[in-house]
Amino acid sequence: MIHILNKISFHPLFYLITIVMLITGLFKHFILFLFIIITHELGHLLAILIFKWHIKEIVFLPFGGLILIEDDINKPLIEEFIITLMGPLFQLIILYLFPRLSYISIPLLLFNLIPLYPLDGFKLINIFFNKIIPFKYSYLLSLIISFILTFILLFYFHNFLVILSLILILFKTYEAYKIRKHYFNRFLLERYLKRLKFRKKKVINGLCLDRMYRDYKHDFFFKNKYYDEKEILNNLFDFKGKVC
């Protein structure tokens, strides 16, 4: 428990909204906001502890909390889905238990479900795209959707705190976009280094690694021959002492 508490950190903008709320006399709203986002994070945390994932950091952002996970990308999709869903679920429980707080908990819940990069909505659409299109493109597509939506919202709202939050989201999306190739490489490297077990199998025509799906084991069909995923990844990563 203590090692989780040590991982909590606060974003500078979180301090800013704390100050704004305090000097404008919205103590109650701020305490309710904190109560709701902490319960939301506890939902995620519960699922993370059940599935034994590793937490890197818990950050408080101006629009809610964020749990950064330091674990394999190839973890089962269903686990990620449950972890993501537990947050909004806990928020719904709050909504049910305290209907009087609905004026603050409904907007927070809806905002969290907008597909913007670090929010739960993004994770949900990313999981959905992972299910239907290859890993590399699904991540890119989710990021592009997040980018466009942030831009649209930026023009729609004329509120200092909302604009500040959206700019923060824009930066975070851009950062994620910049490292998307490394992210994909990590996805491949994990499959090369670790003995991952997948229940389902997919056959890919040609030797294109970009067409690999999450949660699937792959066979590559090339020139009338089937190649195992391991062999292809061996070719990619094993330098056999060669130095390029």
């Binding site: 709320m21 404008t24 006399g25 609905s102 603050i104 907007p107 809806l110």
Partner: protein
């Protein structure tokens, strides 16, 4: 790092206590500041809202008991430091001017009352309430419900501890 932060806090706290104990002038001034003057949240709030938008965006205001009524009354008379308004029985009292609730409770001569500080730093007291619908440190908008009153509503207007005439707010 965390321990040194804690230590620093303790040291600062003790230094403040010791200086307050040694220096009686400073102590009186400090107590005067702390107990008698209040930070004008409503003023900062209105200023902030004017330039930067709502400090708490996306709030679903419709559920926040806004019934947008004006204060109407049959008669007005002087009472203690303020005024007494004659209204109907079970009259629902709306907020006269938006601000933050700084007092909820009983007061001598005024019965159950609510004090709301507005953006100009004027404390508006609503007295003789039979039902109170707001709680401490609520930020209330103009026209939202304070509570219920029977026949007589007491109101006083105070700024910096001195009562001011009610003419500016009630006509």
């Amino acid at each position: 790092m965390k321990f040194s932060k804690l230590l620093l806090t303790v040291i600062l706290f003790l230094i403040t206590l010791i200086t307050l104990k040694k220096n009686s002038d400073l102590r009186n001034k400090f107590y005067d500041e702390v107990y008698n003057s209040s930070f004008n949240f409503a003023y900062v709030n209105s200023l902030y809202t004017k330039f930067l938008g709502e400090p708490m965006p996306f709030l679903n205001e419709t559920t926040n008991m806004v019934f947008n009524e004006k204060l109407v009354y049959d008669n007005i008379d002087d009472y203690m430091d303020g005024a007494v308004l004659t209204v109907g029985s079970n009259y629902l009292v709306p907020v006269l001017d938006e601000g933050i609730v700084i007092f909820v409770g009983e007061k001598e001569n005024y019965g159950k009352c609510v004090i709301i500080e507005n953006s100009l730093g004027v404390d508006i007291l609503y007295g003789n309430l039979s039902n109170i619908n707001v709680s401490m440190y609520d930020y209330v908008k103009e026209g939202s419900l304070v509570g219920e009153v029977n026949n007589k509503l007491y109101m006083t207007f105070t700024k910096d501890g001195e009562s001011i005439s009610y003419d500016t707010y009630l006509k």
